[in-house]
């Protein structure tokens, strides 16, 4: 145990202490000096190192917001699953950015790359699901004659996929149309999309030529190009079922589409404009009965691209910001109260050693909180519980040492020898018991659901630092303080008798 008392170790502890003080304190000093909010992420706030900022990351149960676990289904055949999952995450990211959420967390999960977890602060569940699950794959169809069709935008005609979809669009913007009365979405096709679109419009015009404004015969259904959202071949196969067609052909319903199950039929119809002339150059406009909001939603949806898979929400959690703030307050109060009780108890029961252990405990708390900021560990209620529990573990290591210290003193050792023997003999128990806790943490961290993972992470960090705090800090403080003779009185040490040196 001489190594523990050596100067390199002491300097290392001192370095940790200074670093913790800096991490814990510097931000608050700056914030107070500049009248900034005391908690949360303030853009560009020091201490920040190349965009890496130090502050407590609050989990959704403390900050308020929505957590959703999605399952990915209908993977496209022949593509690597991890890649599809990454692409889906990228699309969700783009869509979520449109919501203006600070630090959205979108992570892949699942042993088979079939899960995505989304954490959005300050967004309610309905809004989040609408944005993420928004179906926005544009599908262009042309009309083919089918006498059995009695319903839909063009009775007597059935839509056919043209191969032109939202994937052929490079950008979309919502604007007000030149007349200034309604909202439209302007789209620009990619070069291959432009070629396809050019071909389609040329075919349309060729189907019944003439000037659509003057000639009645020129306005045949084949000259229309319908635009749908997420229309599938399965929908087209059911086109002769008139009630089905009536539902699909109703204006697109984003809420219905976001929440659809295999059995629901949602409206997917956007518009069915006539082609006045061949359109080359890859520019087009979608008009319909848009509001500013719905035009913007559509443009955002098109821009973010389409999801390569279907998303099914497995669980959804929404916590209001007020409940989160209340939880922060309560757990803070509980934590401080707990710490105060422990410190009081240690000092009353163990006197000077107890006081030193309390100092070590404060070092421990400061260091752990600094680590939470630096890593960063997202703090949740379960995480805070893990931290408070690790305080218990830290106290235990001290209690083990002090009880042993009392025994060694009773056995007639000198104070200095007793401290050394106490630490040395308590060490195997401290080592083995904390190892078992760490093993439990690792198992939880790997196979637990996210709430339990947070708990495991904070507990594990806590256990590691509790070892440093008890074995190194308490031991050093004891050695330094007890080296001077003035504290070697039994009432101060909480022991039965003290052998003269």
């Amino acid at each position: 145990m001489q190594l523990v008392l050596s100067w390199p170790i002491r300097l290392a502890v001192l370095a940790i202490l200074l670093f913790s003080l800096f991490v814990d304190g510097a931000g608050y000093v700056y914030r107070i000096a500049n009248h900034l909010p005391l908690t949360g992420n303030v853009q560009g706030l020091p201490p920040s190192f190349g965009g890496w900022q130090l502050y407590f990351h609050r989990g959704l149960d403390l900050a308020g917001g929505t957590h959703i676990d999605y399952e990915l289904t209908n993977f496209p055949a022949g593509q690597s699953r991890p890649e599809v999952q990454q692409r889906t995450i990228a699309v969700i990211n783009k869509r979520v950015n449109a919501l203006g959420v600070s630090e959205p967390e979108i992570r892949g999960a699942g042993s088979n790359y079939d899960r995505i977890t989304v954490d959005l602060a300050g967004v309610n569940a309905a809004q989040a699901q609408k944005t993420i699950g928004a179906v926005s794959k544009l599908v262009y169809t042309k009309w083919v004659k089918d006498d059995k069709v009695t319903n839909g935008p063009e009775p007597g005609y059935k839509p056919a996929l043209t191969g032109l979809t939202g994937d052929d669009i490079s950008s979309a913007t919502a604007t007000i149309d030149p007349t200034g009365t309604s909202w439209v979405v302007n789209i620009t096709f990619t070069s291959s999309g432009a070629t396809k679109f050019d071909q389609l419009t040329r075919d349309n015009v060729a189907a019944c030529p003439g000037d659509t404004a003057t000639s009645q015969t020129a306005n045949c259904p084949q000259r229309h190009l319908a635009i749908w959202l997420d229309l599938t071949q399965k929908d087209l196969d059911s086109w002769e079922d008139s009630s089905y067609v009536a539902k699909v052909s109703s204006p697109y319903d984003s809420a219905c589409l976001a929440a659809q199950t295999p059995d629901t039929v949602c409206g997917k119809f956007l518009t069915d404009p006539i082609t006045r002339e061949e359109i080359a150059g890859g520019q087009a406009q979608i008009s319909g009965s848009f509001t500013q909001q719905s035009a913007n939603d559509l443009a955002t949806g098109i821009n973010s691209g389409s999801l390569p898979v279907d998303l099914v929400a497995l669980d959804v959690t929404q916590v209001s910001a007020t409940l989160g703030a209340q939880s922060v307050k309560l757990s803070l109060a509980a934590g401080l109260l707990g710490l105060a009780i422990v410190v009081l108890f240690m000092i009353v029961y163990y006197r000077i050693p107890g006081l030193l252990a309390s100092l070590a405990l404060l070092f421990y708390a400061g260091a752990v909180l600094a680590v939470f900021k630096v890593v960063p560990v997202t703090l949740t209620l379960a995480g805070i519980t893990g931290f408070i529990l690790s305080v218990g573990m830290a106290v235990d290591a001290n209690v083990l040492i002090f009880e042993r210290f009392k025994e060694e003193v009773r056995a007639g050792r000198t104070i200095t020898a007793a401290v050394d023997a106490a630490v040395r003999r308590a060490w195997p128990a401290i080592r083995d018991s904390n190892t078992s806790t760490l093993i439990t943490c690792v198992i939880l961290g790997f196979i637990g659901p996210s709430a339990v993972q947070g708990f495991a992470k904070t507990l594990a960090i806590g256990v590691v630092f509790s070892l440093i705090s008890s074995i190194i800090v308490t031991h050093n403080l004891l050695a330094i303080v007890l080296a001077s003779g003035s504290f070697r009185r039994q009432t101060l040490l909480g022991v039965d008798r003290v052998r003269a040196v």
Partner: protein, 341 residues
């Protein structure tokens, strides 16, 4: 403590009695060991009275197991699946009015009153669209409503949570057994002794898990209390108790390991009892501080943490009891059934 001053004590701390007040009150003077030079130890004969302590444990465990077998558990939403709204109403309707409104929706909803004047309304799983419409419908029926939390858990996740919990407890137990076997293989008896130590710790651990689960089953199903509901937090608590229980047991076993080395003249039972007495003060003090902290969370930590802190309180009290009165005595029983030297 003056009678301790005549104790021969040099290199080992193996010869000092517990100074703890509680233990002293119940302390029974052990007949002097036959060997003249053996230290005199004041102690409670835990090992000798082990059947009494085993019986005390069974007194709690058996009703618990019976309740788990007959009634199962009151399942929280994490396990049962469904959609749960935590709300409060501006117009303060009565519970009966809310129950009436929820019944009127014909969605199999149920209403639970929380302590803060709020309500938890539970439905079978609802999708996003119907979530919004249910919310609007409630507002229509009961007036302005403040939604604090919405939880929705589908059947897949609920099943996975159960699977994960069993897996985690199983894995953690196996890992702990292995760790103890490795750590204690160098006591006399080698690997077999290591497994005796590991196995006894494991039994003590299962004792705590059964005490905790049994009490929660009784609280939830017999007394119909919502605090007895089991959810992901409960799983966290069980796993923490697993860690803590082993932690406590290891401290006792570590002392046995040390005393086996230094007190060759004592019988195995005497060594075990001595070690229990030497570590009892530490076990009780540590648990006492943890109980104080958990008590603070239980009282001041708010509704969300109440179930968790109660589970931890029960588990830690049980863990301390089992590490003192069950784990080491079990080791003695095991040693008798399977002697090593």
């Amino acid at each position: 403590m003056s009678e301790l001053s005549d104790v021969e004590a040099e290199e080992q701390g193996a010869d000092v009695a517990s100074a703890d007040g509680k233990a002293k009150a119940e302390a029974v003077a052990e007949p002097e060991p036959t060997a003249v030079r053996e230290p005199r130890v004041r102690k409670l004969n835990v090992v000798g009275r082990r059947n009494l302590f085993f019986a005390l444990s069974l007194l709690i465990i058996i009703p618990g197991i019976f309740s788990m077998w007959r009634n199962g558990f009151l399942l929280g939403i994490d396990f049962a699946g469904g959609t749960e709204f935590t709300v409060s109403f501006a117009n303060h309707p009565t519970t009966a009015q809310i129950q009436g409104a929820v019944d009127g929706q014909n969605l199999n909803g149920s209403v639970i009153e929380t302590s803060g004047g709020g309500y938890i309304i539970r439905y079978p799983p609802l999708n996003a669209a119907s979530q919004t419409s249910v919310e609007n419908d409630l507002q229509n029926r009961l007036g302005p409503m403040n939604v604090q939390q919405i939880l929705e858990v589908g059947g897949t996740i609920a099943g996975e949570t159960i699977e994960f919990s069993l897996l985690a407890v199983g894995l953690a137990s196996a890992a702990i057994l292995a760790l103890l076997a490795i750590r204690f293989r160098n006591v006399p008896g080698g690997w077999r002794a290591g497994f005796q130590f590991g196995g006894s710790a494991l039994l003590a651990l299962l004792h705590d898990v059964f005490v905790l689960a049994g009490i929660f089953s009784i609280l939830g199903k017999v007394f119909d209390l919502r605090i007895g509901e089991i959810d992901a937090f409960f799983v966290t608590a069980v796993l923490t108790v697993v860690g803590f229980s082993v932690h406590d047991t290891i401290v006792v076993f570590d002392r046995i390991r040390e005393n086996l080395r230094v007190s060759q003249r004592l019988s195995f039972e005497q060594v075990v009892n001595l070690s229990i007495m030497q570590t009892a003060a530490r076990s009780i003090i540590t648990s006492f501080t943890v109980v104080l902290v958990l008590g603070a969370i239980f009282i001041a930590g708010g509704e969300t943490l109440r179930g968790l802190s109660l589970a931890l309180l029960i588990g830690i009290v049980s863990g301390t009891y089992s590490s003192i009165f069950n784990a080491a005595p079990l080791l003695v029983v095991w040693r008798r059934l399977q002697p090593l030297r």
